[in-house]
Symmetry: C3
Subunit: 202 residues, 3 copies
C-alpha cells in the first residue's frame, strides 16, 4: 500500500510540473521533462545528499513510467486537468505529506542525526517543486505560499520524534503525513499566510 | 581519438556558454565561469548521480584548460564566433552526441540499469546547457527547441541496446553519436518542432 | 577560534540571503529558507562534489541554529540591517575568505588534486550566493560583480601553493583569507571591475 501511495505522490507532482510546463508553452518533450523533474527531483536531491548512488528514482522503473506517462496525459488532456485545480491541490498536499515522511524515514534509516533527517525530509518534499519553478523562471512557490515549508517541517518533526520514542514506523509515517495534509488544507481553506516584513524605504 | 573528440565536445559547449554570457553583458570572469559551467556541468551532474568523487571534470586538467581557454578566446573574438553560428550549431550537435553516448556508457560501466543509464546519458548531454540557461535566467533551450531531448534519448537507447546485444562498444558509441547528430541537423534544417499544447482559456 | 570564524562566515552569508529575500517580499519562512540556503549551500555543494555524506552543514547543528537564527533576526530588524550595508559588505568579504580557504583545505585533505581543490574552494565560497540569486531569479552577482570570483581564486591558489610547499596550514589559511578580503575591499573601494566585451551588433 505504501508503494501505491508513493506512485500517487509521484503522479500528482508530475501533473503539477506538466501543467506548469503547458502554461509556459513548452512542447510535449519539455512537458515530459518537467513532469519527470518535478516528480523525481526531490528524491534525487535526497539520495545525492545521503550518498545513495545511483538515486532510487533512476533505478525504479515504475517511478519513471508513472511520471512520464502523467506528463503525456496532462499534455493531451490539460484543459480538463486544469479544471480539476481543487483536486490537484488536495493531491499535491497528499504528495507533500508522503514525500516528506518517506524522505525523513530514509534519512534516519541511513544514520542521519535527527535535525539532518528533518532537513532532508523537507528537501525531499519541496525540492521537485523548487526545481520546476527555477526551470520555468519563477521564484519557487514554496518560498511564497501558505504555510508550505512549515507544514512539511511539522510532519518531519513528527517522524523524528516517533523514531526517538520507538513508536511503530508505519503509524508515525501516517500521523506525520496526515498532519502535513491537514495543515496544508486548513492553510488553503483559511488563506493562512506567514507574515511578510514591512517594505523597505530604500 | 575518443579523447580528442571529448575535448572538441568540451570546447564547443564552452563556446556556447561563453557566447551566451557575452550577450548577457557579463565581464570576462563571468564569461569564463559560464564557459566552465556549460562545458563541465553535465559531466559533473552525471558523476554526482553515479557517486564518482570527485567528478572527473574537476580532476582532469585538460578539460579545465580547454573550457577556460575557450571562454577567454570567445570573450576576445566573440564577433567572429557569433558569425560562425551555423558552425557552432553543427559542433553543438556533435558535442551533444559525444556527451550523451559517453555518459550512457559510463553509467552502464558503473552498473546502472538500462533505463537509468539512458537518463544519466541524456542528463550528461543536456545538463550543462540547462545550467547555463538557468544562470542567465532563461527557460532552458533544451525544453523549447527542435527535437533536442528526443535526439539525445534516441542516441542513449542505441548505446543501451548495443550493450545488451554485446556489440563492440566503440561501434555502438559512434552509431549513437551519429544518430544524435543526424537527428539534430535534420531538425534544424527542416525546422522540426515537437507539438505544443493549445493555449489554455483560463 | 577557527570555529568562531566559521560561524561568523555562516551568519554573514545567512544575513545576505535573508536581506535579499526580504527585498523580494518573501514571508518569514521564505526568508529563513533563503538564509539557510545561502549560508549552507556552498558547503553542501562542496561535500556533494567530494562525496562527504551527509554534508557537514546538515549534521552540525550550530551551523543550522546560527543560519536560521540570523534569518529570523534579519526578518524582524531588517531596516537596521539594511542600513549596515557597508558592514555587511565587509563581513561578506570575510565570509568569502573563510569559506574559500576552508573549502580548498577540505578538498586537499580528502585527496583532490591541486587544481580541483582550487575549483572546489571557489565553489564553496560562491555557491551559496549563486543559489540565493537563482532562487530569486537574479543573474548571480558573482558573475557580474567587482573581481569577486578572481579574489576567491587567488585565495584558493595561496592555500594550494602553501600546501605544496608544506607551510603551516593555519598560517596559509589566514594569508589566503586576508588576500581575498583585501582584494574584495580594494575592488569595492576603487570600483574595480573586470572588462566587459563590446556589444554585439546582431
Amino acid at each position: 500500500m505504501l508503494t501505491a501511495l508513493e506512485l500517487i505522490g509521484i503522479a500528482v507532482f508530475a501533473a503539477s510540473g506538466a501543467l506548469a510546463a503547458v502554461r509556459a508553452r513548452l512542447d510535449v518533450f519539455g512537458v515530459v521533462v518537467l513532469a519527470l523533474t518535478t516528480a523525481l527531483g526531490g528524491g534525487i536531491v535526497r539520495d545525492v545528499l545521503l550518498g545513495v548512488h545511483p538515486p532510487a528514482a533512476l533505478v525504479t522503473w515504475p517511478y519513471l513510467v508513472v511520471a512520464a506517462g502523467t506528463g503525456v496525459v496532462v499534455f493531451w488532456f490539460h484543459p480538463t486537468v486544469a479544471k480539476l485545480r481543487r483536486s490537484v491541490l488536495l493531491l499535491d498536499a497528499i504528495g507533500l505529506g508522503l514525500f516528506v515522511t518517506a524522505g525523513t524515514s530514509t534519512a534516519l534509516r541511513l544514520g542521519a542525526p535527527p535535525y539532518a533527517a528533518c532537513l532532508v525530509g523537507v528537501t525531499t518534499g519541496i525540492g521537485g517543486g523548487a526545481l520546476r519553478d527555477v526551470l520555468l523562471r519563477e521564484i519557487p512557490l514554496v518560498l511564497r505560499r501558505e504555510i508550505y515549508a512549515v507544514a512539511a517541517l511539522a510532519g518531519a518533526v513528527v517522524v523524528v520524534l516517533g523514531d526517538q520514542l520507538r513508536l511503530p514506523a508505519g503509524l508515525v509515517s501516517i500521523t506525520g503525513s496526515a498532519l502535513i495534509v491537514g495543515l496544508r488544507l486548513i492553510a488553503l481553506w483559511r488563506h493562512w499566510n506567514a507574515p511578510i516584513a514591512p517594505k523597505l524605504d530604500g
